[in-house]
């Protein structure tokens, strides 16, 4: 399977993503923010970092880059798109995912391991997660507090679009386990079609034992299985 990994000025997890998917036996190529085509990608990853210096708002400028127009077209055709950290912020700013990410409740930058409960295990991003398994994946962000209005939250819940929630090691959704003040402990969501997802934690930093956790693999493996089952490339 071939992943396209976007690169914006000040992306800093692009190489982590390429490394992670290669460790899992797949191929990856970088796509520069000024490119208008994603090439022959089987899936797209919008990586973490501080695109365009986080100026104005995180992801606000990146969403207007040429490559994001290609990502929108790719997503419209049903292609798989995963946004990690700043990538999640960009997808929200671009309107590909609902809601927004704002400053952490305690104003601190959090760089730590967190636990995640997979809220919907039947999506292209979660289907390989063993039932009941609490994932341990690191976060590294200052603006990861997920916000959406009550109506949007009701829709997200009704359609089971909340994919991951911050929890404690036992899988309980406690206030203490919520590192940034996200509503409903939301760590990641999907769009209504379930072909676009975003999360603040970094599966790219948790895909080999050397890094302390391999739980990020469940997310990449899910995408691979979903793609293979579909059997066709939604190349843009």
């Amino acid at each position: 399977m071939h992943f396209a990994i976007l690169q914006f000025p000040a992306s800093n997890c692009d190489q982590d993503c390429v490394h992670a998917v290669r460790v899992l036996g797949h191929t990856a190529s970088y796509v520069w923010h000024k490119d208008t085509s994603l090439g022959a990608a089987d899936a797209v990853i919008v990586p973490g970092g501080f695109s365009y210096g986080d100026y104005l708002r995180c992801g606000a400028i990146a969403r207007f880059s040429p490559v994001m127009q290609a990502v929108k077209a790719y997503a419209d055709q049903g292609g798989l798109v995963l946004g990690i950290c700043n990538g999640f912020q960009i997808l929200c700013e671009a309107g590909l995912l609902p809601g927004a990410l704002i400053r952490n409740r305690d104003l601190q930058f959090h760089c730590e391991q967190v636990h995640l409960k997979t809220t919907n295990g039947e999506t292209p991003f979660t289907r390989r997660t063993p039932a009941g398994r609490v994932l341990r994946i690191p976060i590294a962000h200052g603006e990861g507090c997920y916000f959406a209005d009550a109506e949007t939250l009701a829709t997200l819940q009704a359609h089971r679009q909340v994919l991951w929630q911050y929890c404690d090691a036992a899988g309980e959704l406690t206030e203490k386990a919520n590192p940034n003040g996200s509503v409903l402990n939301i760590a990641g969501i999907a769009n209504e079609r379930f072909n676009v997802a975003g999360l603040m934690p970094h599966p790219d930093r948790a895909s080999e034992g050397l890094l302390g956790s391999e739980d990020g693999r469940f997310i990449f493996d899910s995408m691979v299985e979903a793609f293979r089952q579909r059997g066709t490339s939604a190349a843009a």
């Binding site: 704002i102 104003l107 209005d149």
Partner: protein, 81 residues
């Protein structure tokens, strides 16, 4: 001619920065502060002779699409000479 744009967090959105500034003001002894909202201020220079109505229309669009995020922010726009 210039445009002055003030962007503030929506009332329903957590504003930990505003809360922290409010707490600091209280600690410093400034009584009677019932709320602080920290936002952004943008000043946009416009070419001389710009049509005011057209500029306002374009800038409202820019505020909605780009300069503010309607999910979490409100904005006020004013065009002055």
């Amino acid at each position: 001619m210039k445009a002055k744009i003030v962007i503030t967090p929506k009332k329903a959105v957590l504003d930990p920065q505003g809360k922290t500034v409010q707490n600091a003001l209280e600690h410093m002894g400034y009584a009677g502060v019932t709320g602080v909202h920290v936002g952004k201020y943008l000043e946009i220079d416009l070419a001389a002779g710009t049509d005011r109505a057209a500029a306002e229309k374009a800038l409202h669009e820019a505020c909605h699409r780009f300069l503010s995020n309607p999910v979490i922010e409100d904005y006020r726009l004013e065009v002055v000479d």
